[in-house]
Amino acid sequence: MSALLQAKRDAAESRLAGLRLPEGGSAWAKAAREDALSRLRLSGLPGRRDEYWKYTDPTTLVTADAPGAAVFDGSDESPVFDGIDWVELVFVDGVFDADASDDPALAGVEIERLSTAMQADIHWARDLYGVLEARGQVPVERPLATLNTACATDGVVIRATGKAAKPVNLIYLHQDDASDAILHHVIKVESGAELTVLEKGPAAARFNKVMEVDVADGGTFHHVRTQGRDHERRAVTHVFARLGTESVFKSFTLTANGVLTRNEVVIELTGDDAVAHVAGAALGDGDFHHDDTVFITHDAERCESRQVFKKVLRNGATGVFQGKILVKPGAQKTDGYQISQSLLLDDDSQFLAKPELEIYADDVVCSHGSTSGAIDEEGLYYLRSRGIPEGPATDLLTLAFLAEAIDEIEDEALAEDIRGRLESWLSRRRG
């Protein structure tokens, strides 16, 4: 065994030693955790020299002790998704708070707390928990997700069998400077059902979250999340999705600030004519580091996938994009699109992009592009010549740059909320 692998395994052991592993649960739950545990002990945790972590240093995500993060006071701004009728489920430093949450029944879907579900024999949860995560380990290992499956202490399981009455809004509050949270959600959208899940908040000083989403034939899943202005927080999140025939999956993430955020999205298109869109807009300042890592596998015919990621960086901020489209043999008529762009507001900031296409079918359309650029000086002069001062004119051009990503949000009310949020963040940082 190489010294490198040994170091990764040692890191895993050291991390596990610092965690209280969940106990109890039904036989399937125990088996799922044990399976993950043994996979983790084999793979170890990611290190600085892993190719998949070339642009993002995982050290602070894998250490036994979470680096602290001062609690951020965001009370001076209106809540995200304000005015949208949802069912909210509140987690404080990674622990579900039933008193602060709405009655889950109002969403018109089945919702259980993960710990409750793991005591019971809920077949659909059993068939998904750790299953999509394990499928997502090939061809690239994602050990932080495996750690999550083995050690998650809380989360929700949601099953929609029809059109959900309201979106489910997962609210992650951060109240303890040293909190280290591991949440795992399992979502099943049955055939023809429709569900929207919203997520917001920093969750903890360090946050590891996995969301497994299975969208059956003809199902529709929408996901919109915001990772707010809290700067010191660290997060690694994974979304694992499997899409059936004619199903739709759309996910959008807005991120502002955060010293370290790695958002991985792993999607398998397993049924014909499925649609998967993943988009993100990020605003970074100073020691901000934000990494979008996306892996989409086309394993059926006539599926469409889109990746649209935009980052605005300044004062030495770093943005990373690793995006891959894998078209398997037989996945004919695949329509794959990928764009990653950064707007660099100064010379100190950097954007690192690794777009990849791997295609084994001969009748497909796949395109990808990646650009880094500065504010368009001509456009800026034009706006200013009409009386718009430099700051607001720059904001206008910044919003225009991000527009393509925000346009991926299908629900216009949610998109408008995100635009408003961005405008207020931009004008705030102008001071």
Binding site: D376, Y381, S385, G387, I388, P389, E390, L397, A400
Partner: protein, 251 residues
């Protein structure tokens, strides 16, 4: 209204002097035209007055109603009442035409200490002005100048001018790239704005625009200076004989 004295301008990046002691006074309510051969510095004059980067004023002054224009940022010049209709209007993907115009109008109002216009009043105003210029609702919604034809871009410039109601309007080769009908439409838009309190500086190569926008004074510019000033008949002279005679005469 506009008073330019002994203006000397060079490019910031190179030792190239473009304006070499330009004097020009435009009185309130008047339309002045500037004609001149390529490379005489006409467009540079419009850029320097509106505050574009890349030029260095080495001598002279430019004042708008006694206010030193050269000290102001581009947006401050706009708020002070200066407007440049661009020769090549800039495309701004992702910014809707309406959003752009409302932001601009409100920014100018704010700079002058006036109240912002309400969304409803703005809509009423822009619809009326757009109609006169045959700009449809679709064009108002599209991103600024993106996918606009040459004629549409120039009409959009005039629409902005009509909405912002500046007191000093500079038109930089607004006739370039326009067919006869589009030029008439643009000229009508300009003529509708003529007013005792508003002045125009029309930069053009051709007499034909001046058939539709009748100037009070015509200047001939060459090598960074105004070399001859006269009435509308001067434009006709240029149309018939070109610049050679005039340049020879003043040389």
């Amino acid at each position: 209204m506009l008073e330019i004295k002994n203006l000397h301008v060079k490019l910031e990046e190179e030792e190239k002097v473009i304006l070499k002691g330009l004097d020009l006074t435009v009185e309130a309510g008047k339309v002045h035209a500037i004609m001149g051969p390529n490379g005489s510095g006409k467009s540079t004059l419009s850029y320097v007055l509106s505050g574009r980067d890349g030029y260095e004023v080495t001598d002279g002054s430019a004042e708008l109603d006694g206010e030193d224009l050269l000290e102001l940022e581009p947006e401050e010049r706009a708020a002070a009442g200066l407007f440049l209709a661009f020769q090549y209007p800039v495309e701004i993907p992702g910014v809707g035409n309406m959003t752009f115009l409302r932001t601009a109008l409100n920014a100018q109002r704010k700079a002058r200490g006036e109240e912002e216009i309400s969304a409803a009043d703005f809509l009423k105003l822009i619809r009326a002005k757009a109609k006169d210029l045959q700009i449809d609702a679709e064009m108002l919604k599209r991103p600024v100048n993106v996918g606009f034809s040459g004629g549409e871009k120039k009409r959009n410039e005039i629409l902005q001018m009509a909405m912002l109601e500046p007191k000093m309007c500079i038109l930089d080769e607004t006739d370039s790239g326009l067919d006869v009908d589009a030029m008439k439409l643009v000229a009508q838009g300009v003529n509708a704005l003529r007013d005792a309190g508003r002045s125009f500086l029309v930069i053009t190569h051709y007499q034909r625009l001046l058939d539709h926008i009748k100037p009070d004074v015509v200047h001939i510019m060459a090598d960074g200076r105004i070399v001859k000033t006269g009435g509308p008949e001067l434009a006709l002279e240029v149309e018939q004989n070109g610049y050679a005679d005039i340049l020879a005469e003043v040389a």
